[in-house]
């Protein structure tokens, strides 16, 4: 009796269990809204991008409708914790700190921090940044890495991707650090800039995230990633959403994980 009641309690306290999502008929997914080509809104007002395509697929496989919740990098953990969303698919890099507060499913992309700078004042080495301004977005792995490991670099911390890229274009800093995966895309769009440092700090992975302890959705998502991997879904997603935005120097294997 006791165990059962506890169980039902925790079930009713978990509004994001697979069962509950199916019952609601909707899954709420956190995505970016201003980060082409991962999560953004095209000029017709449609949400598109690599993460968004994945999110739609997940909803379809769950058999429910999807509701997008647009987040900024520094809201992603709280969006889960405050029950604002069931799942985060917003280029969420797996880090030890984050693992303590939320649960990551199996990764679906790999990434590391890159640094983009103007071609005419190219930054190719971290030492060139000493005492200079570097733009980051709050709550990104890039911010974490520079805050903890490169204390001599002065950070300018922005709330959104739009703001950070605009700040770089306005020459407010020597360079900008973020996940290399979108720096590639952005620098193709902005040919005056180049990703001078392609990879710095630890190599990491991008994975879906759920609220800590949401075992039900975590297990389901793990299975789903494995299944999608086998179906080569990520390669298709890459080809349709990412490839047109990357330069020739980027190969699928730089971004997506090898499939067995």
């Amino acid at each position: 009796g006791c165990g059962a009641s506890k169980n039902s309690n925790s079930n009713s306290a978990n509004p994001s269990s697979v069962q509950q999502i199916k019952k609601n008929g909707t899954i709420r997914v956190a995505v970016f809204g201003d980060l082409p080509p991962y999560g953004w809104v095209n000029k017709n007002g449609q949400r598109v991008g690599y993460d968004v395509t994945l999110a739609r697929k997940v909803a379809k496989d769950l058999g429910v409708k999807i509701k997008f919740v647009q987040v900024n990098a520094n809201n992603r953990v709280d969006a889960l914790n405050a029950n604002k969303v069931d799942l985060v698919l917003a280029n969420f890099t797996v880090t030890p700190e984050r693992k303590q507060v939320i649960d990551f499913a199996k990764p679906y992309m790999k990434v590391s921090v890159g640094v983009v700078s103007p071609k005419n004042k190219k930054i190719t080495n971290v030492n060139q940044l000493k005492g200079k301004n570097l733009i980051v977005t709050k709550g990104t792995t890039a911010e974490n890495y520079f805050t903890q490991s490169q204390k001599s670099v002065q950070l300018m911390r922005f709330d959104s991707k739009t703001q950070q890229f605009n700040a770089l274009k306005n020459n407010r800093a020597a360079a900008l650090a973020d996940d290399n995966s979108y720096l590639y895309a952005w620098s193709k769009d902005n040919p005056k800039y180049t990703v001078g440092i392609k990879s710095i700090g630890p190599k990491s992975y991008i994975a879906p995230a759920v609220k800590k302890g949401n075992k039900s959705l975590l297990d389901w998502t793990n299975k789903e990633i494995t299944k999608l991997n086998n179906e080569k879904f990520f390669l298709k997603d890459y080809n349709s959403q990412l490839k047109p935005y990357f330069g020739k120097e980027v190969k699928p294997s730089d971004v997506i994980l090898p499939y067995k």
């Binding site: 082409p36 953004w40 809104v41 914790n81 959104s160």
Partner: protein, 229 residues
């Protein structure tokens, strides 16, 4: 330059989407105002009653919303309250709630101020003809206070509308958030898009707020003229 930057506004559905964002902004502001004005009026009346404890508590409520910047309030409500109280609310409703509580706080002060500035002899004449406390408020004090508080209330409305700009910081698809999507999505074809998009938003806010402030000023002026005359 291939295109003039201003065309970014008319590319695809951009303009409609920006207006859609504005509509959300207006809905939230309107909801907060309606709820806040009603709640605030009740609180304002309570603050003119004799109970010291009640007045103290309501005063604390007011000061809390006065002292804490709205950005901070939004984050507090967005992140802490749902988790602590297991209360789940979509961002739009939550924003309406936060703004509504803030409006109620400010409104309670406006209502209280106008109630106590109804001349004292009005209250005494009411008592002198035997009105009880409820009747005094119902027939004498509140009707007279309303005309005093209208300009301040409209003014509060303009502040609420302006402050909705902060909604972009939580996940509300308000006009600024839509603006950022537009800027990003059209970055390549319209490098100066940022200027035009923010410029349009600037003008949109002005177009909504200016008539309201004008109206409030006019009412205030009329009231002063009536008083002097």
């Amino acid at each position: 330059m291939a295109h003039s930057g201003i065309n970014v506004l008319f590319e695809g559905d951009n303009f409609i989407r920006l207006l859609g964002g504005l509509w959300i902004t207006i809905k939230i502001a309107a909801g907060a105002l309606v709820g806040g004005v009603i709640l605030g009026t009740i609180l304002g009346v309570l603050r003119t009653l004799n109970s010291k404890i009640l007045r103290f508590i309501l005063r604390l409520y007011l000061e809390f919303f006065r002292i804490i910047p709205t950005v901070v309030l939004l984050f507090l409500f967005y992140y802490i309250i749902p988790r602590q109280f297991n209360l789940n609310m979509p961002a739009n409703e939550l924003a309406t709630l936060v703004f509504g509580l803030w409006v109620a706080a400010e409104m309670s002060d406006i209502v209280r101020g106008s109630l106590i500035s109804v001349p004292k002899h009005q209250q005494e004449s009411g008592k002198a003809i035997g009105l009880n406390r409820y009747q005094l408020y119902r027939y004498v004090l509140i009707p007279q206070a309303v005309s005093l508080e209208i300009p301040a209330t409209i003014n509060l409305a303009t502040r609420v509308i302006k402050t909705t700009s902060l909604l972009m910081l939580i996940s509300v698809m308000d006009v600024i958030n839509v603006g950022q999507q537009v800027i990003e999505a059209n970055n390549q074809s319209y490098p100066t898009g940022v200027f035009w998009v923010y410029g349009l938003i600037f003008i949109l806010y002005f177009l909504i707020d200016y008539p309201l402030s004008w109206w409030s000023k006019r009412l205030e002026k009329q009231r002063l003229e009536r008083n002097n005359g």
